[in-house]
């Protein structure tokens, strides 16, 4: 039914009422929407608003310096700039990426990958896209501040490792923290943190690593800083002092230069490591800068194993140095008696097999003293036969072999002291008495690290007090293990080792030092038997390892030095002179007037590293 309407006729009022109701209903609906956001969910939005406006600018804590025992700087930092990418508006960032990659010389794909990987991190947390920025990089960032607002620079202190691989194994190096370290750190490490990877850097990472601070700034929607809310200053890492004597360290490193081997000098009274060197070395700066996988592979596959810290990781037959262990076992156990003598015709027959002495003409009638001085193998074959493998193993372990010394460095190897139980466990075969004979002269399965030999000899000459070797100076004095030896044992061993250097027929008589009671024991450890070497062609690869473990002075020794020169042929020829140089340097340093006559080392010590020169001036 359609009504005809006049111009001034009005419409049914009900239609306007519906209109009014619709207005009220829509308004109520909107009010509900605002209520939900502003009252029910306000905490969520407040958090988002906070995150929007607050940006954390990291303040990287510098790592602590590392000093030697006299306070000379061994390892310092240098200021460097990192390029930061602010990720407040990722869309904007995406647009700039190609330009940034080109400007900083980065791989665009890698940069994009890094950015997308960080998508899960809070947006106010900037991303380090380039470390060690060059002056050109810094200029690029500074000159594009206006048109690429998402770039920033961050000053960080980076490690400056000494040149010439100096102390590379002891100091270790730093690198970006790995995922497994983050997981293990219980929240202490965060992605991007720089932590110690090896050596002292790793061992004392907790001391060296500071706590990063940050600056909380308010930024506007364009990322411009509008004000500072607060600042948590960075807590720099602790400076730590090592027991290392930079002077001795330099002598050790210089004398090892070009060789393959290791040197360690200990203070037997405390266990303090005075010098520790391993060659070949590596440039830790390359690691700190970030090493590529191919560089890593190259270092790792190098047949000379430059990454190995031979002082604690080279497990080798100790050779004749082991005779000191044998002698101690003999004197302590009384098997055989202290006045035991044998006749050495240049060989001995044991269990139906001929065992040669190193001197094929023989040593004639020898007792313990002579056998050590001249390093008579036949004497110790007999001692070994009488002692038996069980006693040898017992004493070797008590005297410090076959177990880690517990030095404060990661990756120490335990060495090996063979025994019947060991053979049974590893090879499931019984121990044959004939196997004891080579063990008695430090061959066979016996393995020791240079540190273990210095530790063992140092403990023996100190009357059986074994001080745990350590590198951190504040650890003085340290843990000791006591295995008391009778004074007569210690005297006899000391006298014999004195004779090795100072008697005319001693194996290291050439290394005698005028005015210093320098004692020691040489060692020459075969890698393969003589026959075997001939069969293999006798190349340098299978040449013997040269050992020397020495100490001074004769009574109340202050320093014990173990030297290993791999493929060094003869301990007396190659290893003993290095030990001698270190002992000389030690005396010159402590009593300069008294020992001024000692000739300076053949190849003069290089000028100290740049870092330490600066510190000396300070």
């Amino acid at each position: 039914m359609v009504h005809r309407l006049e111009d001034d006729q009005r419409l049914p009022q009900s239609r306007l009422t519906v209109f009014a109701v619709v207005i009220v209903v829509v308004a109520l609906g909107l009010l509900f929407g605002f209520w939900r956001m502003q009252v029910l969910e306000t905490r969520y939005y407040s958090k988002l608003a906070e995150r929007n406006r607050i940006r954390l600018i990291p303040i990287i804590a510098p790592r602590g310096r590392i000093l030697d025992r006299h306070g000379h700087v061994l390892l310092n930092n240098y200021p460097s700039f990192s390029v930061l990418l602010e990720r407040d508006s990722p869309q904007q960032v995406q647009a700039y990426l190609p330009q940034i990659a080109a400007g900083l010389g980065l791989d665009p794909a890698q940069l994009a990958g890094q950015v997308s990987q960080a998508a899960g991190l809070p947006r106010y947390q900037p991303l380090v896209i380039k470390t060690n920025a060059t002056p050109a990089d810094i200029a690029f960032v500074e000159s594009h501040r206006a048109d690429i607002p998402c770039l920033d620079l961050l000053m960080v202190q980076r490690r400056q490792y000494p040149p010439d691989d100096f102390m590379s194994h002891v100091l270790g190096y730093v690198g970006d923290v790995g995922p497994e370290d983050i997981a293990r750190s219980k929240g202490r490490f965060r992605p991007g943190d720089v932590v110690g990877k090896t050596g002292i850097e790793r061992e004392y990472n907790n001391l060296l690593m500071g706590v990063d601070g940050n600056k909380r700034v308010v930024v506007d929607s364009r990322g411009r800083v509008r004000g500072t809310l607060g600042e948590t200053p960075a807590i720099p890492g602790h400076t730590i002092q090592l027991t290392i004597d930079e002077n001795l360290e330099r002598v050790a490193e210089n004398d090892l230069a070009g060789k393959e081997g290791a040197v360690v000098a200990l203070d037997p009274r405390t266990g303090a490591v005075l010098a520790m060197a391993s060659r070949p070395g590596y440039d830790a700066n390359e690691f700190a800068r970030g090493i590529t996988p191919s560089e890593w592979k190259q270092l790792n596959d190098d047949p000379e194993h430059p990454l190995l810290n031979r002082v604690i990781q080279a497990q080798l037959a100790p050779g004749s140095v082991f005779k000191i262990i044998m002698a101690t076992a003999m004197l302590q156990s009384g098997i055989p008696q202290a006045n035991y003598h044998v006749f050495c015709p240049g060989y001995g027959v044991f269990y139906g097999r001929v065992f040669h002495c190193w001197d094929k003409y023989g040593h004639g009638r020898v007792g313990l003293h002579g056998a050590i001085v001249q390093s008579c193998d036949v004497f110790f074959y007999n001692v070994g036969q009488q002692l038996g493998i069980q006693r040898i193993a017992y004493y070797a372990r008590q005297l410090g072999l076959g177990r880690r010394t517990g030095i404060d460095l990661p990756g120490e190897e335990p060495g090996l002291v063979p025994s019947a139980a060991w053979k049974e466990r590893v090879y499931h075969r019984p121990w044959y008495p004939g196997e004891t004979i080579p063990v008695a002269i430090g061959q066979g399965a016996t393995m020791a690290t240079p540190l273990q030999l210095a530790y063992a000899i140092g403990g023996i000459i100190d009357g059986g007090v074994f001080m745990r070797p350590h590198l951190l100076k504040s650890d003085d004095p340290t843990v000791e293990i006591r295995f008391p030896l009778s004074p007569s044992t210690v005297d006899a061993i000391t006298e014999a080792m004195y004779g090795v250097v100072n008697e005319s027929d001693g194996t290291a008589a050439a290394s005698r030092i005028k005015g210093i009671q320098f004692c020691g024991k040489t060692g020459t450890a075969q890698l393969v038997s003589d026959q075997e070497r001939k069969r293999l062609g006798g190349g340098a690869r299978f040449q013997d390892n040269a050992w020397f473990v020495g100490f001074a002075p004769r009574t109340d020794p202050k320093i014990v030095v173990a030297v290993l020169v791999q493929r060094g042929v003869e301990g007396a020829e190659t290893a003993a002179p290095i030990a001698r140089a270190i002992i000389e340097a030690y005396y010159r340093e402590h009593w300069p007037q008294q020992y001024a006559y000692l000739a300076p080392p053949a190849n003069p010590a290089k000028p100290p590293a740049a870092g330490s020169a600066q510190a000396d001036n300070n």
């Binding site: 359609v2 306007l16 519906v18 308004a27 605002f34 939005y45 407040s46 929007n52």
Partner: protein, 362 residues
């Protein structure tokens, strides 16, 4: 007998509501622009003063005269919109502005006013209480032409505001259910066509952002997200004028105009939003009341059209601020900054006053 028109007979309740809303707007405008764009408050105050003058002038004008000249206005409007397309100034990527005496004017704002008058005249001419199909087609043509011209500027938001005038008018005039249903279906079919041939890429992006905000949280959804954060973080009582970080640090997009409610919601909280919407509902219901009292159908359609377009602005803008509607560039009447938009609202209210002052049928 001559009608007696007295200024004292103006709807003072309506004027009070308008003043309150303007005040609220100026307050938030001051807070949002005091550091960055000082002077906007004074300019807006000037527009409001001008608006009141226009309101008073229009209230004196007999709306019958306006209705009589509706065809002329319509032709002028079409001409002006064509002119804008031809010589208008490009601002924010759209050709919406012409300068009149050095002042930029948005012609489309005045197109809204003309459409209200033209449609009132049209519905007045419908002599039944049910719309025929022919009526609907005429209505569609009348609204469609300027709508397309505004869409070409391009200004989707303003173009859309023309629709509610026609819709509310049709509902008041009595649309048939089957016609309404057919129109809804037709609109449904028109959407894909519009998507492919009419909408600009940025408009598509806005719609997509609205439909899938999670997919664009940091891209085109940034504006909506920041607006929501501002509103939500305001809480019940707000952070205080001048203390909203979203607002003051520029995270809220166009915080002085389209998103002023987000800024207000952040600084004055739910309480402020509640007050604002309460004032608006009061304003709209007061307008409906005036529509009821109109002396004839034409007057009722005029007031109804004004109510429809203002209500559309208010509700769409509020919904946009909390992410319920895509960003379409529809300002909040009387509160958002803007000369043409403010002037339009006052002139529309002037029309209402003109109808009111002549409500007594003698």
């Amino acid at each position: 007998m001559r009608e007696r028109v007295h200024t004292a007979d103006l709807d003072w309740v309506l004027v009070a509501l308008v003043c309150a809303l303007c005040l609220l707007g100026l307050l938030e405008l001051y807070s949002a622009t005091e550091h960055a764009m000082a002077g906007m408050v004074w300019r807006q105050l000037g527009w409001i003063a001008l608006g009141f003058a226009a309101l008073w002038l229009l209230s004196r004008l007999d709306y019958d005269w306006l209705l009589d000249h509706a065809p002329l206005f319509y032709l002028l409007m079409i001409g002006a919109l064509l002119l804008v397309l031809a010589v208008g100034r490009v601002r924010f990527g759209a050709r919406r502005w012409v300068e009149i005496g050095g002042v930029p004017f948005q012609v489309s704002e005045f197109a809204k006013l003309v459409i209200i008058i033209v449609l009132a005249r049209f519905f007045m001419g419908v002599r039944t209480d049910r719309l025929t199909l022919k009526d609907l087609l005429k209505l569609g043509a009348l609204v469609g032409l300027p709508l397309v011209l505004i869409l070409l500027q391009p200004d989707l938001g303003t173009a859309l505001t023309l629709a509610p005038i026609a819709v509310v008018g049709a509902l008041l005039a009595g649309i048939r259910w089957k016609h309404a249903l057919a129109l809804v279906i037709l609109a449904g079919l028109a959407i894909p066509v519009a998507w492919h041939f009419v909408l600009k890429p940025y408009q598509k992006a806005r719609v997509m952002t609205f439909l899938e905000p999670q997919k664009h949280p940091l891209g085109s959804g940034y504006q909506i997200l920041q607006s929501e954060i501002a509103v939500g973080s305001g809480g019940l009582w707000g952070k205080g004028l001048g203390k909203g970080s979203q607002n003051q640090l520029g995270f809220v997009p166009v915080r002085y105009s389209d998103f002023i409610l987000a800024a207000l919601g952040e600084e004055l909280g739910f309480a402020g939003v509640f007050l604002t919407l309460l004032l608006y509902v009061g304003l709209l219901l007061r307008l409906v009341q005036n529509a009821r009292q109109a002396k004839d159908r034409a007057g009722m359609y005029l007031v109804g059209g004004v109510t429809a377009i203002l209500g559309f602005h208010i509700f769409v803008n509020s919904a946009m601020v909390i992410g319920w509607m895509p960003v379409t560039g529809i300002p909040l009447p009387l509160v958002s900054y803007g000369g043409s938009a403010t002037l339009f609202v006052f002139m529309a209210l002037g029309l209402v006053m003109s109808v009111r002052l002549r409500r007594y049928v003698n």
